[in-house]
Amino acid sequence: MNEETKTQINAKYERELQRGERFWPDSIYKDAIVALGIFLLLVMLATFVGVHDSPKADPSDTSYIPRPEWYFLFLFKFLALYGQIPILGKIEWIATVLIPGVAIGILTLLPFIDKSPHRYYAKRALPLAIMFIMVLGIVLLTMLADYPTVAHDGSGLPGLIQAVAGLVVPAIVYIAFTVMAYTLRERAVRAITVTAALGGALMVAFTVLAMVAFPLPAQETAEVPATLSDQISAGQDLYSIHCVECHGDDGMVEIISGVAGLEGKVVSIINSRDVLYTVNDASMAEIISYGRPDSGMPPLGRAYNPEGLTRAEIDYIVLFMRYTWDDRFEAPYIPPLYPPLAEGEVPTYSVHIQPIVKRYCISCHRPGKDSNAYYMDTYANILNSGDNAGKNVIAGDMNSYLIQTIQHTEILDADGRVLVGVMPPTSQLKPDIIDVFIRWVMGGMPE
């Protein structure tokens, strides 16, 4: 840039200053309003949206699908799509280092690459068009981030459409820009503008096609227990499913009975001070995770058992044990398992029965356990599964097997042999829980 242009630019700036404003108070006032708006927005987001944390880090859980912060999602998608390209896609560093490096390099050195003194938008068609396609690509790749590249039937068509939207069209448009800039020179403005508009429209079209033709699979969002009392409740549910059979619901079992393969085994009384005062949280979690294979306790952690519990879940069980049995810990208020019933109110499956079943029944009544194939894991299974399907719960019938057995009445067959024993086999449900079951069955088992 020669001195004459510099003088011109400075003179023009002086003229702009003459008919301009003062930093104080004109600009500051706008800045202050924006700052206030941002502050209010942040307070609203913190209050009404909050922060959604996932469970505690678990290095052994390699099946966890990583998801970066949202502003890196486009880069992840870009890498995933680039990896699909035959041959070239195998050279990972081209996508991870070379292309982002070149992009950042160009952006950094922009003032030294774009040497034209012009600032008016109509005289800067090429840089604006390049940036437009770049930003549009980033936005579209971010939007596509959660859409899988492989369809249910294993076809790679979704990935192909996404790659066209996010890689192929931008690449072609960039090549076209370069050719136009060199061949048409001054007359390129119109061609570049039209190409950018067309390319942008194509990118949007293919993105929409990818999203509509292969919609997002339904995601199950697991609620992460965030407060101590939620974690203790979660631990109690997990304990009821995985530990109760052998250790009993109060942890007082010394000799296992009624568990196939472990009959008569001697176990530590895990609610005793001997255990709780001498085993710290980390060791306790390790015992649950690795088990005590020599003494018959199976490994429950995912590190040793592919279908096992995550580290966070094991930590919840430890918390439950501490706050329930360890007299050095004072448990916080823990909300009741189900909301108390009003006079004459009929309980429902989702609000009342499900949490009760989860804590007291599923331990045995789930696939893989010997329980006359009666599974209580879903509403449909409770109503209709197992060897005695159709007799377990009958609307309005006090003789339903479920109602009888939880009131400790055995079901006998025609020859007087025990068909279904009392439930739960070694203890008795509290009267208020039995009352919930009775009201539910008599009220027609609402879901």
Binding site: M1, T5, I9, K12, Y13, E16, L17, G20, E21, R22, F23, W24, D26, S27, I28, D31, V34, A35, I38, L41, L42, V43, L45, A46, T47, V49, V51, D53, S54, P55, K56, A57, D58, P59, Y64, P66, R67, F72, F76, E92, W93, T96, V97, I104, T108, L110, P111, D114, H118, R119, Y120, Y121, A122, R124, P127, M131, A226, T227, A282, A312
Partner: protein, 222 residues
């Protein structure tokens, strides 16, 4: 009382020179601006918010794999207004990346990176990259599943650099895998190294802006 206040002001003014401050910093002429020109000061405001909320969080946060997650839960559940401060820090981080990026786009569209503001742009790109670095290092600190595995993959990407990749990976992680060292390292980068760099460069950025003045909105003559 009033006389005392005037005396105190006079004494301080004699030694500091409030008038110079007023003339050089506040009473500057500027081209007519519009709302897009507030993005820079919005970024600065977000930075200050992040510093203040971040300092508050360091009071309770514990950068060790055994206690990081629990200390965040403690901040969220037991500390008075801890949830609000953490919420502002969490959302402020996202918003800061967004605002700084849009600020860069605004500068690009109005071509404000041209003479005499080339250096301001260069420093600005540094600020954008460090802001993203702050996001990347801060994301690991809660030590939850998402953070752990996102950082595993993120550092693995840095490890794919030809020849130097393994060295970079080990330097970032402090070993072959994510460990307590990684968390300590990211914590140090997040609360010391990057904020100091960011603060210093912001100072330089502001100095250059005051020196050259805010660029004017380009018209047909430009």
């Amino acid at each position: 009382m009033r006389a005392l206040w005037q005396k105190l002001y006079g004494w301080l003014d004699e030694r500091i020179g409030f008038d110079d401050f007023y003339k050089n910093l506040l009473d500057r002429p500027e081209p007519r601006g519009n709302w897009w020109n507030t993005l820079g000061s919005a970024s600065l405001f977000l930075f200050i918010m992040q510093v203040l909320t971040g300092i508050f969080l360091t009071v309770y946060y514990n950068p060790s794999p055994d206690h990081a997650y629990e200390s965040i839960l403690y901040i969220m559940n037991d500390v008075q207004f801890g949830w609000l401060v953490r919420g502002i820090h969490h959302w402020g981080a996202s918003l800061m990346v967004l605002v700084v990026f849009i600020h860069m786009l605004r500068t690009f569209v109005t071509a404000s990176y041209k003479y005499p503001r080339e250096l301001t742009w260069l420093v600005g790109i540094g600020l954008l990259l460090i802001t993203i670095g702050m996001g990347f290092t801060g994301y690991l600190l809660p030590w939850h599943q998402m953070a752990y595995w996102a950082t595993t993959v993120g550092t693995a990407i840095a490890g794919s650099v030809p020849f130097l990749g393994d060295f970079i990976l080990q330097a970032l992680r402090g070993g072959p895998d994510l460990s307590a060292l990684t968390l300590q390292r990211f914590y140090a980068a997040h609360i010391w190294i990057l904020p100091l760099l960011l603060g210093g460069l912001i100072g330089f950025h502001l100095f250059l802006i005051i020196k050259h003045g805010e660029s004017h909105w380009p018209d047909k003559e430009d």
